[in-house]
Subunit: 334 residues, 2 copies
């Protein structure tokens, strides 16, 4: 772990920061060398391929300035874990690069590290190394997660086949609803629902256990992070298939239904909202094993459509079979 001070006036020492706050997060990993070397080393896992993923989490883009620091940390880490889940891969360690504004308080970083510490226990990962920088700009956290998948078994985007069912875990649109509450675009009188939706924006739940069970069952899968409709578009494009989604079957939470009217426009908003961190996947219609995997891992799943032949793309249909227009994929509210 290296630091790069930009001036002499910093309120706390960078090396103190690493020794007291970050080094304890690296204790579980011998090759992290207590964050006291230039690199980290890991031993390959026999019969497995290495899996890597990097993601930046940026203030005012992926989280709000007032979000509690432990939730910012967890979101930054979990965004990459969610990709591992969607690919049937198992994370082992992560690298952290933080660009801190000059005004950053040490107490904020303590909360941030606490969030990482909790998630390390929950997901059995360790900090392998990283870097702390000062930035003249926005707080930016880049997490690179490293892990393993049994050789040849990574669940790709490109394996969807005509006849497959299309499924998604959990509920869709909650995080966008939470964000609309945080920025005052919507109001929710029910405090429990409000907390639920904001929690979904702040701390996603990567479906790692369910994802692991998808290996050998799913033909294709993707982490739903930029909007269900757009992300299914990636499966359609790489698999050269057409995806038909039944709007009525898209799983929407009670809390979000209380917030947004589920008109055609509302459902279009749901499927184009970001930050779900659920898994969308396709599998042949023998649904028994899929449902067993969902039950075993405690991940609710919903069948939302099917793969058909035709021009690659995604279509959202209402109950009468008419197409619902979905705004430009990946649109975000801030």
């Amino acid at each position: 772990m290296a630091t790069r001070p930009t001036d002499r006036s910093r309120p706390w020492g960078e090396f103190e920061l690493i020794d007291t706050l970050f080094a304890p997060l690296a204790r579980g990993l011998a090759g992290a060398f207590d964050l006291k070397d230039d690199v980290a080393t890991l031993s390959p896992k026999a019969g497995h391929e290495l899996v890597v993923k990097t993601d930046s989490t940026i203030e005012n883009v992926h989280f709000m300035p007032a979000d509690p620091p432990d939730t910012v940390a967890r979101k930054a880490l979990r965004r990459t874990l969610s990709d591992f889940a969607a690919k049937g891969a198992e994370p082992e360690a992560y690298l952290l690069a933080i660009a801190l504004p000059e005004t950053m308080e040490k107490s904020w970083l303590e909360g941030f590290v606490e969030g990482l510490s909790k998630d390390q226990q929950q997901f059995r990962v360790a900090l392998a190394g990283g870097e702390t920088n000062r930035t003249p700009g926005a707080l930016t956290i880049t997490v690179t997660t490293i892990g393993w998948v049994p050789e040849g078994q990574v669940v790709r985007r490109n394996g969807a086949k005509a006849g497959d069912d299309v499924w998604v875990t959990g509920t869709i649109g909650d995080a966008a609803g939470g964000l609309s509450l945080l920025i005052g675009e919507a109001v929710c009188a029910d405090e429990g629902m409000r907390e639920y939706l904001i929690g979904r924006f702040r701390v996603p739940e990567p479906r790692l256990e369910f994802g692991g069970l998808l290996r050998g069952l799913a033909h294709a899968a993707i982490d739903v992070s930029d909007g269900l409709f757009g992300d299914l578009g990636h499966i359609a494009e790489t698999s050269h298939v057409r995806i038909e989604i039944d709007s009525a079957s898209v799983p929407v939470s009670r809390a979000l239904r209380a917030l947004w009217k589920m008109t055609d426009e509302g459902i279009a908003r749901v499927v184009s909202a970001g930050d779900d961190y659920e898994i969308a996947f396709t599998a042949p219609p023998a649904a028994g094993s899929i449902k067993a995997a969902a039950a075993r891992s405690g991940s609710p799943i919903t069948r939302i459509g099917r793969i058909v032949e035709g021009v690659a793309g995604v279509v959202l249909r209402d109950a009468a079979g008419s197409e619902i227009t979905v705004p430009r994929k990946g649109y975000r509210h801030f």
Copy 2:
């Protein structure tokens, strides 16, 4: 590779960016999946450990806004390659997370990608994946490099032994001299020298070939990036040894000598300046093999001091043996 647009008004499409600019950089690596999946996979190298390193490169911290985009790209990548060099490791691939200000021009990104493309050829690495984000703040490039080192042979910081010689590759302080020219803190009438120093700031030369030859020869090594004096301090601390540096033997280029007077204060500035990306290492006095490695790889090396017993730390001595005070390690000019 995933993108996250923040508004609808962006001048060019994010997916176009990936398909046309970044995907060609990933062609050499099957497990990069043409940047069309959630993660990248790599096959472990038999008899090797995995090596990972992450580094953020930030506008107005590590590079100047007017630096040509290809040099910014190369610096961002080479900073991690330099760590690989110092550890005797071999890079294979890298992940890229870029946070782009709203005002970023496509032509800038084209230059950036050109720089990466050239360096990929030179250092035989490929883009494995990454992410493009918009940021309300400073342009931030985070590179995570992945590679391999023969099992148990990583050159650590903690192996220095009393009696070792201390060596450094190349010359020290040039990049800081280049930066002082860029920010108008110093003036250099000789255009060739000016270009040389600025070039050293903008595009470091990772000593990968020499670093590989250090395995089995060096007791300890470190990438000199935060200042020679401070970085040797990390070797001293983790090896529990005392390092004595002869100020007159610190290699300083002719160009830097023309810029800064090599008084005690000048040499103290040299050894506390950042961005050298040379390798400092310690080895037992049988210098023949070290010199052969240097000759074979074309990396000039200089013996600058020795490891002694005593309180862990680094001392810089003048020709008379008196200690020269070095300012707080890692100090930077902006």
